[in-house]
Every structure is written in C-alpha cells, then in structure tokens.
C-alpha cells in the first residue's frame, strides 16, 4: 500500500517536472528560431510616430538617497517630449535625504513632482506607495520604475508604441543587471535575469502566453489601472497579482525586449534571501488567489490557461523537487520498481529547471549566447547554489504562509531591498 502511494506521488512529481522542463525547452527553441528572423515592428513603429500619449512615471522610493539622484538625472535625459511627461517621486517615509534630493530636481524641472508620505502612511510596501502616486497621475499611460533603475534614453518611445494595439493593457521592458561585475552574487543574479528576460519573457510574448509584468520597467493604461483598483496592498508580489488581473480582464501584456533598463542587483546572500523570500511568498499568495479564476476565465485561451497555471505554481517547484528526492530514494531501495531508475535520471535536468529565476541551464546558456556573453556562460554550473538556496527560501515561504493562514495573522512585512549605489561606477552612457 505504501509502495503504491509513493509510486503515485513520484509519478505525479515526475510529470510535473517534465511539464516544466518541456515548457522551458519550448521557450528556448522559440527564441532560437526567432533570433534568426527579423522582427516585424515596422508598421507598429510607423504608427508610434504619430502616437505619443501623455505619460506619468511613478518612482516609489524609501531610503534611496544613494540612487534616487541617478534615476532622476536620467529621467531628465530621456528623449520623450517633456511636455507630455509627468514624473511622480513617492517619498515613502524615508529616514534619509531621499526627499531632499528629489525636491532639488523638482525645483529645476517642473514636470517632476514629489509626494511625501508620513511615517504613519508610509512603509507599507511598494503597492501602497504606487497607489498613492496613481491618485496624482494625469498621464494616459502610467509607468513604474524602481529608484535603483537606470533606463535607456529612448525607453518610453519603445514602450509606448505597444499601446497602439488596443488589446495591450500593459507593457514590460527588459531588466539587465548594472552592477554585474561587483561580486559572485551579482553575477549569478545577472545570469538569472538573462534566462528570465532574454528567453523566458521573449518566448512567452512570441507564443502569445502570459507575459509577466515584473513590477518595474513597465507601464499600464491609466484607465485600466483605475478599473482594476490599483495595486493590491495585501499581496507581496503585487506585480504578479496585477499581471493576472490584467489578463483576466481581457487585456494582454506586451514584452519589449529591446527596451532595456539597468538595475542594481542585490549584493549579498542575505539581501538575496530577503528579496526572493518576498517574491516566493507573494507568488504563492497569487497562486492561491488566482488558480481557479484562471481555470474558469472566458478571457483566456487554453494555452494561456496552461501557461498561467504553470507560472502561478512555479515557486512550489523547488519544494517538489526536494520532495521527489525524499520519495524517490526509498522507492529505489525498498521496492525497486523498474521505471523509477529511469525517472531518477530526469532529476538532474529537472533540478536545473527551477534554478534561480526558474530558468533551466539550457535557457540561461542560450540567452547568454544570444547576448554574446561568452564569459558569463562559464558561471552557469554555479547556479546550483542559488537553486539549493531557493529550496530553503521557498520552503520557508510556504511554511510561513500556511502558518499565517492557520493562525489567521497577516505576516506581510515588506522587506525593503537596500541599494548601495555601487552601480554608479558601471555607468558610462
């Protein structure tokens, strides 16, 4: 009886691993195929010449004195017409000089506004800060950029052109790590980003699946964000939540991979833990919230539903890989079913299907190859450490989430990622 249960569990886990492996394999093949074709943006670009809507850029900032000046300076250098731009810096109860630095820019440029949030109002997370910003926004399109980001000069033109299509409710640009050479953590995060943005997001966009809004370097139609009621403050992954709400509302998110923006990645394992723990827990909250809505939705196609389900459950997979180990070993020794040893061989490949940003080694490798990142490819084997780390992170996130459900206490403490401003030395324009 025990053997049968273990076998059934192991079969289920293997099927899930193969499903994710197949998904990433299809993504990688799609990007490889499309890398040889010329993108057909000509019509869209022609239309975009006539379409330059008013835009609002929201920059939530809490204790970001080391980086806020850098992004505001860059914003002043953007090529988008300044008379159509509104910049709103949300100083989220900062204890440092973030507000003062932003005020200085505001005095010099009349399109930059500052919202100061008091200690009572602020510190409740990014979603709350963004909602405060939306109330003052008057642009047709609302963009969000984190304070540690550094966009390309023509990024708004590249992103806004997607809104020519009325079905597009939101856009997402590409995130590249700015401080990659700093240390091993930043290098590994950079590889995860390559897998995620060069291959994963691009393939999802090409295949018409669920393109994920990453919380930054993206924008929404103002009307849509108001209809949806803004960002959800009770979920830690407010970006994933919004992604699904956009799709469930019948719109889609377009990914513009040549709209590049540079981020300052976390610099040590402790910061990595805090950031990924927030992502994992938030993603799991989204899975519980949207799973059945995705299945029932009439606005999603079958392939969008399948991809949506896989995307929602991606942070459970490191835990399930661990579980497959725990189940597989007694099966191999105590009961010796013939097929278990064959399934066991799948695990080394599957292990890498859930590494870091949940892109398997071949996806990261092909992404790095297409980006011409020859040296970075040598570090791919080291991604196993981030994977092992992610097993612990995701297990802790799930345990905490279950405990908070049992106790009935909301444990949504927004762990702020601190930025050192070390990325400044890598900016050469």
């Amino acid at each position: 009886m025990i053997a049968e249960i273990l076998e059934a569990v192991f079969i289920l886990l293997t099927v899930l691993m193969i499903a994710y492996l197949g998904r990433h394999y299809i993504f990688t093949l799609t990007v490889l195929k499309n890398s040889r074709k010329r993108e057909k943006f000509v019509t869209k670009e022609k239309l975009a010449l006539a379409y330059q809507p008013s835009v609002t850029i929201l920059i939530p900032a809490r204790d970001e004195e080391r980086v806020i000046g850098r992004i505001l300076q860059r914003i002043t250098e953007l090529t988008y017409p300044k008379d159509k731009m509104q910049i709103i810096v949300i100083d989220d109860a900062s204890a440092d000089n973030t507000g003062k630095i932003a005020e200085e820019y505001s005095k010099l440029h009349n399109y930059i506004q500052i919202i100061h949030r008091s200690k009572e109002e602020g510190g409740k997370g990014k979603a709350a800060a963004l909602n405060a910003g939306v109330m003052h926004a008057n642009g047709e399109i609302i963009f969000c950029f984190d304070a540690d980001y550094y966009p390309q000069k023509d990024i708004l033109e590249k992103l806004t052109k997607e809104f020519v299509d009325p079905k597009v409710g939101a856009v997402q640009g590409r995130v590249i790590v700015l401080n990659e050479p700093q240390n091993m953590v930043t290098r590994l995060v950079a590889l995860e980003r390559i897998g995620g943005y060069r291959v994963d997001q691009k393939a999802r966009d090409n295949l018409g699946l669920i393109t994920q809004f990453g919380g930054t370097v993206g924008g929404f139609r103002h009307s849509l964000i108001e209809c949806l009621g803004g960002w959800n403050e009770s979920i830690l992954a407010e970006d994933t939540d919004l992604t699904f709400r956009v799709y469930l509302a019948g719109y889609r998110i377009s990914y513009v991979y040549d709209a590049e923006c540079y981020e300052e990645a976390v610099e040590n394992w402790h910061a990595y833990w805090k950031q990924r723990y927030r992502w994992a827990k938030g993603h799991m909250q989204c899975a519980f919230k949207h799973l059945f809505k995705v299945l029932k939705s009439n606005n999603l196609t079958l392939k969008e539903k399948i991809d949506g389900l896989l995307l929602l459950n991606v942070y459970f997979m490191p835990i399930l890989v661990l579980l497959s180990y725990i189940v597989g070993v007694p099966l191999l020794f105590a009961y010796h079913p013939q097929w278990v040893s064959i399934c066991w061989a799948f695990i080394p490949i599957s292990l890498y299907s859930f590494v870091g940003n949940f892109a398997p080694f071949f996806e990261v490798g092909i992404g790095a190859y297409l980006d011409g990142r020859t040296r970075a490819q040598w570090l791919i084997p080291l991604l196993i450490f981030t994977f092992l780390y992610n097993i612990a992170i995701c297990t802790k996130a799930l345990t905490d989430l279950i405990m908070s459900k049992i106790i009935g206490k909301n444990g949504n403490n927004w762990a702020k990622t601190l930025h050192s401003g070390n990325g400044n030395i890598y900016i050469t324009n």
Binding site: L29, Y325, S341, W344, P348, I349, L351, I366, Y369, P381
Partner: protein, 157 residues
C-alpha cells in the same frame, strides 16, 4: 571498393546530422567527403557510448546520455559555428558522460562493498547532482567554444 559499404554507412549517418542541422538551423550546409567521415565516426561513437553505458553501467546513465544528446542536438546545432565542430563536441560529451558514470558507478560499488547499503543509498541520492555537474559544465563550455568560434569567423571575414 572493399570499404564502400562502410563509407556508405558513414554517409547515411552524416546525412542524418545534416538533416537535423538544416531543419533546426534553417540553412543549407553542404559537406565535403572528409567531413562526412568525421560525422559518421561521431555518430557511431555516440551509439557505442550508449551501448557501453547500457551494458556495463546502468540504464540511468544511458537515459541521462539520451537526454543530454537530445538537448544538445536540438539546442546547440542551430547555433552559429561549424557543424563538424558541434558533432565532435557531442561525441566528446558522450565520452565524458560515459566515463563519468562509469567512475561513479565503480566508486559506488566499491563503497557499498566496504561500507554497506547506506553508501549505495547515499550514492543514489547524489547521482543526479553528479550527473548535473558534467552535463551543465560541458554544456556551458560547449557554448563558450561555439561563441568563440563564431567570433573568430567574424574576424576572418
């Protein structure tokens, strides 16, 4: 004339490689006779490695080699770089994989003999990680070599 059948077999194997490459890479590549011979040897070498691992190591290692080959052929063959180069890399990967698994299974057998079944369980537990080490390392090394060969090609032009 004596070896005509042998060369015919090599040519068939090489055409198989060429077909996969052309299908995936969407470009026509024509090969010289000498390249056909290298391809044929690579193909036969890969089959030989799989047979060896199936007969003398275990099914798990054979299956790992099959997965590696499928991933390698479908994902690196469409990349830029000489086809013959990729086939040789694939053969090297298979040799490395077979050798690695042979060493690991010998280590496991010897350890189990002296330390008991616990060591066997431990080896089974770490075998996916052990396989992962060679697969991922070889994969990333191959991509780097292919990227470098592409750069060299561009410089010559």
């Amino acid at each position: 004339m004596k070896y005509e059948k042998f060369f015919k077999l090599l040519e068939i194997a090489s055409r198989l490689f060429l077909y996969i490459n052309n299908r995936l890479g969407e470009r026509r590549v024509w090969m010289k006779r000498s390249d056909c011979v290298v391809f044929g040897f690579s193909f036969m070498g890969i089959v030989f490695c799989m047979l060896l691992s199936f007969l003398f190591i275990n099914r798990e290692s054979t299956f790992t080699l099959v997965i590696f080959d499928l991933l390698f052929v479908s994902l690196t063959f469409p990349l830029d770089g000489k086809l013959i180069y990729k086939a040789c890399l694939l053969l090297m990967g298979n040799i490395l994989g077979s050798f690695w698994n042979y060493l690991f299974s010998s280590f496991s057998s010897v350890g189990t003999y002296y330390l008991g079944d616990f060591f066997n369980a431990l080896c089974t537990f770490i075998s996916p990680f052990a396989n992962l080490v060679w697969i991922v390392s070889f994969w990333s090394m191959s991509l780097t070599l292919l990227a470098n060969s592409k750069k060299e090609g561009e410089t010559k032009i």
